[in-house]
């Protein structure tokens, strides 16, 4: 019994329960791995156990002799048809772009790299057969550390390239004419603070392992994939393999999370594509969790050298960041550009006159890095918010006061930063005031002082993160300037069905973001139809032929606007039809609450459903009116959007064991207007949890030979419900100014904001003991070690140079 209630007002802004849930809570979800096709074979992939080696011998024929095995091949067998995996973001003109064969041909460059494939009638036989493949490796020297990789005599990941330096990219406000010179600012500075921060390598850890099914038996080759980017996958499969784009159909069915980890075109997708074409029968490949962790792309992994210059009164005069960004062994779809998504954000919400960022991408014998929730912006925000605390300590200033002194005030928008971005709107004061009140900031500071004074074993720390981010990716023009190979627009179509129901086609590709619900709310308001009467279609290039998919907090901020525009076209298109039905002049009509009515006359009007039926029959349309009620729109934003907020974290640190416990966490975010507050809150919860996970729990670690030591969930410690606190969340609302919805995007905000709040709180708890940094993740051991080192330093006193 589905309740259809009368429309009682605006859908946008309302806590709608999700449409998506019905299938997800009953197990009727369509995951790629659920798919089974006649004649389908299961693929298993042999992966390199070596971080760097030459393949001296590879023979798959013993595997072919095993029961159940249908086919087997190596990289050499498909060298001419497997294509090279594409990187679409050559960030500089002189970037080093190595070949990236999906199956290694002669050399392997990281552990887990695919070297051969077996196809069998069932997955167990395929896996058994891997053990029969004969392969010999000649080990080559391994380089894992970025600084070591840049040394003159370093072993080379790609010998033919002659260097491990992928690129160096520079943004300098003096050179760009957007601000002052950082060198001059440093020369003039009364205070200079330098810090090196390590952004540890993370593993995205979406819950659904990646899976791909390819069916080559139809007129189009159909690819089902657990991907965030079905449209991009189709284009790149075509461009890389030479199969014509219109002969490929890509479907992203239900997809179990991504967080950037499925913003990729993967070796496994290409291998499955090649296998299906080679065998002429459907194939399926589903990775195990350990394969995901070993060879799915990783995130973060930067060394950040940060310098901030200031006057004694706390006015910051400049910031300079020198980054080393670990690319891994190959360049994935946006590997080189990922750190640059943060390159404009090292000034955050502040008015820093001088700005410089230099980023060097480095090849190592590790799995490639690429987008992971926030992509570049969490790193920037972390470095900035951490060094603001360090500067406050150096100046002996309350850290929030230092921020207030430097941030852009609400009456200064729009504001163009020294990094060259124009922030359209924001109110940092309002979000901060609200957060501090909810947090009980002053009371916690008092308790902190008491605990310090009494030498309590449990010390209290307060961490601040006043962040902004750039999202709504992205204005195509800007992407072009940044040498990104595609645009940043998004598309939507709205079709009125004869019975008055509505089909909406979006080019975004949700995998947890609730687009089916939120898009329905938007359309319900725009067209005046019931929420329940709208179906949102996505993720199939046959239905949704045009789109740029879901990542970078872009779906609502860009795709949502396309949707509004498409709806507007439908409303405009129906107007002459309604006028005809009402026997009046179109100019006299207004469209209010789903009805065309004669202005000033409250009587019965015509709905879009009436018009849709009229169009369907087409018996009596006004002259010259096309018999259709569809609207297509593509929206390309003029600017990014800039959500912001203030996150406050209180940690209790056990100074004996080093254990950090989050006592309270308050997040006040300003993501502009919201479509569905519950969904927004859910995004914040999950984002904050992932940011906390980086601060306290997670790290991908390689041993000296390049073996991943954290290759399962046993070792890569994802926090569970028992490890995380309750979050207190609220919002302020400063609408985005560039488009009619006023929304800014929320997918990444929580992750971007929370990591520095937590680490600042950890350091704050221990600062009086002499601690001024703890490397992430702030494990109990690292915290204990930091205290011990500080005590050692204190005991050695002034003797140290």
């Amino acid at each position: 019994m589905t309740v259809t209630e009368e429309r009682t007002g605006a859908e946008v802004g309302r806590d709608r329960h999700r449409k998506e849930d019905a299938r997800l809570i009953t197990g009727r979800t369509m995951w790629t791995e659920n798919l089974s096709l006649p004649g389908m074979v299961h693929l298993a992939i042999l992966r390199s156990p070596m971080a760097h080696a030459r393949i001296t011998n590879l023979d798959v024929s013993p595997a072919l002799r095993l029961p159940g095995v249908v086919e087997a091949f190596s990289g050499r067998d498909v060298a001419d048809m497997q294509g090279s995996l594409p990187c679409v973001w050559p960030v500089t003109e002189d970037i080093v772009m190595p070949d990236y064969p999906p199956l290694a041909v002669d050399e392997v460059r990281h552990t887990g790299e695919p070297v051969a494939v077996v196809a069998a009638r069932d997955r167990a036989s395929a896996q058994d057969a891997l053990e029969a493949i004969e392969i010999d490796y000649e080990p080559l020297p391994v380089v894992l550390d970025m600084e070591a990789a840049l040394a003159d005599d370093a072993p080379l990941v790609h010998g033919e390239k002659g260097t491990n330096r992928c690129y160096t990219w520079v943004l300098d406000s003096a050179a760009a004419g957007t601000g002052d010179d950082v060198a001059q600012a440093e020369a003039d500075a009364e205070v200079v603070v330098r810090r090196r921060f390590i952004q540890q390598r993370l593993i995205p850890s979406f819950m659904e392992p990646r899976s791909v099914v390819v069916d080559p038996t139809g007129d189009q080759i159909t690819v089902w994939s657990a991907t965030q980017v079905p449209h991009i996958l189709r284009i790149l499969l075509s461009m890389s393999t030479g199969v014509a784009e219109h002969k490929i159909r890509v479907i992203a069915p239900d997809v179990g999370g991504g967080f950037g980890g499925k913003l990729q075109v993967t070796p496994e997708e290409f291998i499955a594509f090649a296998a299906a074409r080679r065998f002429g029968r459907p194939v399926k490949y589903t990775e195990s969790r350990s394969e995901t962790m070993l060879s799915g792309h990783h995130g973060r992994d930067q060394i950040q050298d940060i310098t901030v210059t200031a006057r004694r009164d706390g006015t910051v005069t400049g910031i300079s960041a020198k980054l080393l960004a670990n690319m891994g062994a190959y360049l994935g779809i946006i590997t080189p550009g990922t750190p640059l998504l943060g390159a404009f954000m090292y000034g955050g919400i502040y008015k820093f006159p001088a700005y410089r960022l230099e980023c060097t991408g480095v090849f190592t014998n590790t799995t490639k890095t690429d987008a992971y929730r926030g992509a570049g912006r969490p790193e920037a925000t972390f470095a900035l918010e951490r060094i603001m605390d360090e500067l406050a300590a150096e100046l002996d200033m309350e850290p929030m006061e230092l921020r207030r002194r430097n941030w852009i005030t609400h009456d200064e928008f729009p504001f163009t930063t020294s990094a060259g971005l124009t922030y359209d709107s924001g109110n940092y004061e309002a979000a901060t005031d609200k957060a501090m009140e909810m947090f009980g900031y002053d009371d916690l500071r008092r308790e902190q002082a008491e605990r310090r004074a009494s030498g309590d074993r449990i010390q209290l720390g307060i961490g601040i993160s006043t962040y902004t981010e750039m999202c709504g990716i992205a204005p195509s023009r800007v992407l072009g300037q940044l040498r990104y190979a595609a645009g940043g627009w998004e598309a939507a179509s709205v079709r009125m069905l004869p019975t008055g129901k509505v089909e909406v086609v979006t080019g975004t590709s949700p995998h947890g973001q609730s687009h089916e619900t939120a898009w329905s709310q938007i359309v319900a308001d725009q067209l005046g139809v019931d929420f329940a009467d709208i179906e949102v279609l996505h993720g199939d290039t046959r239905t949704s032929h045009k789109g740029l998919d879901t990542y970078g907090s872009r779906s609502l901020a860009v795709g949502g606007i396309a949707l509004v525009n498409a709806c507007q076209k439908v409303v405009d298109k129906a107007k002459p039809i309604a006028a005809h039905l009402l026997e009046c002049d179109p100019a006299d009509l207004e469209f209010v609450e789903g009805q065309y009515r004669v202005k000033g006359s409250p009587g019965a009007g015509k709905t879009l459903a009436d018009c849709a039926l009229a169009v369907f029959t087409s018996h009596d349309l006004p002259d010259g009116v096309e018999p259709s009620l569809d609207g297509d729109a593509t929206f390309d934003p003029e600017n990014f959007s800039y959500p912001h907020g203030t996150h406050l974290c209180a940690t209790e640190v056990d100074t004996e064991t080093g254990r950090v416990t989050i006592r309270s966490y308050v997040a006040v975010d300003d993501v502009g207007k919201v479509v569905n507050p519950t969904i927004v809150e859910g995004q914040v919860h999950g984002g904050v949890a992932q940011g906390i996970a980086q601060a306290l729990y997670e790290e991908a670690i390689y041993d000296d030979d390049g073996n991943l030591m954290t290759g399962t969930f046993v070792d890569y410690t994802l926090p569970s419900s028992a490890d995380l606190p309750d979050f207190t969340t609220d919002r302020t609302e400063t609408p985005a100014t560039g488009h009619p919805l006023g929304t800014k995007g929320v997918g990444e905000a929580g992750t971007i904001a929370s990591t520095p709040a937590v680490v600042n709180a950890v350091v704050d708890a221990l600062r009086h003991l002499g601690v001024n940094d703890v490397r992430m993740p702030c494990t109990p051991e690292r915290v204990w070690q930091a205290i011990r080192n500080a005590q050692g330093n204190a005991q050695e006193g002034g003797d140290r140079p």
Partner: protein, 284 residues
């Protein structure tokens, strides 16, 4: 991932199980609850030719009293142990430590005996059994034998069980008038202990008459902290004397350094956690 193929047998009794293991040779392995073994098989870290599933052997299930002892069937699940009134009354240390093992689902299938026979030094049950001076009752081709906890744990993932032997039950003395506590320290709730401490203390008013302390994950097998126990025998039941005794906590340990923690840190934790465990056990 999928394990390598194996033969499967589900004997109805202990003798049949021993016979099956004897016939199958050294590559056969016992399947108890499977909660440690199955992940290892899936990752293909192990590839036994046969699994002998003890799940149908009634004799190996349940907890009974035998004079001053409790006898716990090896196939009693963690969940059953946790809820067993005899355990709660006479061996609360076991119940408390069992509650920290993995998660609910794993405790529903994982067994008390399985986690002991697995002999993982990071497991919680081995140090608890060591602290309690448990006795292991083992069936083999030549009959039954009993092995003390101090002899049962041999090395990393290695117990005194021969390949053709089965751990049938574990005998633990009832502790009347003792206070006990298990102190576990891990990175996340689900994780194995970086270090754990099982402590039992018998007090006579202001004096500690006897203490037993065993450490989890401080060597390739559980370690009894004899130095602490000796320092506490007859010591005043005060925070100061406990702290002083804990200076001996890491004696005789050989902790490893790995991706989870360094040996130094484990040593430090052993001292801190031993003190905390003893404070709780002694009610100080």
């Amino acid at each position: 991932m999928i394990p390598v193929a194996f033969d499967y047998s589900r004997p109805a009794g202990v003798d049949e199980a021993v016979q099956t293991l004897t016939d199958a040779g050294e590559d056969a392995k016992v399947l108890a609850g499977g909660q440690s073994l199955i992940p290892m098989l899936r990752l293909r870290f192990a590839a036994p030719s046969m699994l002998v599933d003890l799940g149908s052997i009634g004799e190996m299930h349940g907890v009974r009293e035998d004079g001053d002892d409790l006898v716990i069937g090896a196939m009693t699940t963690h969940d059953e142990v946790l809820k067993n009134p005899l355990i709660r009354a006479h061996a609360p240390l076991i119940a408390q430590a069992t509650a920290t093992v993995a998660d609910r689902q794993v405790r529903h299938l994982g067994t008390f005996g399985g986690s002991l026979a697995h002999a993982d030094p990071a497991g919680d049950m081995p140090s608890v059994a060591t602290a309690l001076d448990a006795t292991f009752e083992i069936a083999g081709p030549s009959g039954r034998r009993s092995v003390a906890a101090s002899e049962f744990f041999v090395d990393y993932l290695t117990s005194a069980l021969e390949p053709d032997e089965v751990l049938v039950s574990v005998r633990v003395p009832k502790l009347a008038g003792w206070g006990t506590h298990y102190e576990k320290f891990n990175r996340v709730a689900q994780a194995w202990a970086l270090v754990g401490v099982a402590a039992a203390v018998r007090r006579n008013n202001g004096t500690i008459e006897e203490a037993r302390v065993a450490l989890t994950n401080m060597a390739s097998k559980p370690v009894r902290a004899h130095g602490v126990e000796e320092a506490l025998a007859g010591a005043p039941a005060t925070a100061e004397s406990l702290a002083a005794a804990c200076d001996h906590a890491a004696e005789g340990t050989e902790p490893t350094s790995d991706a989870s923690a360094s040996a130094d840190y484990r040593t430090h934790l052993a001292t801190v956690l031993t003190r905390r465990a003893l404070e709780s056990a002694a009610g100080i």
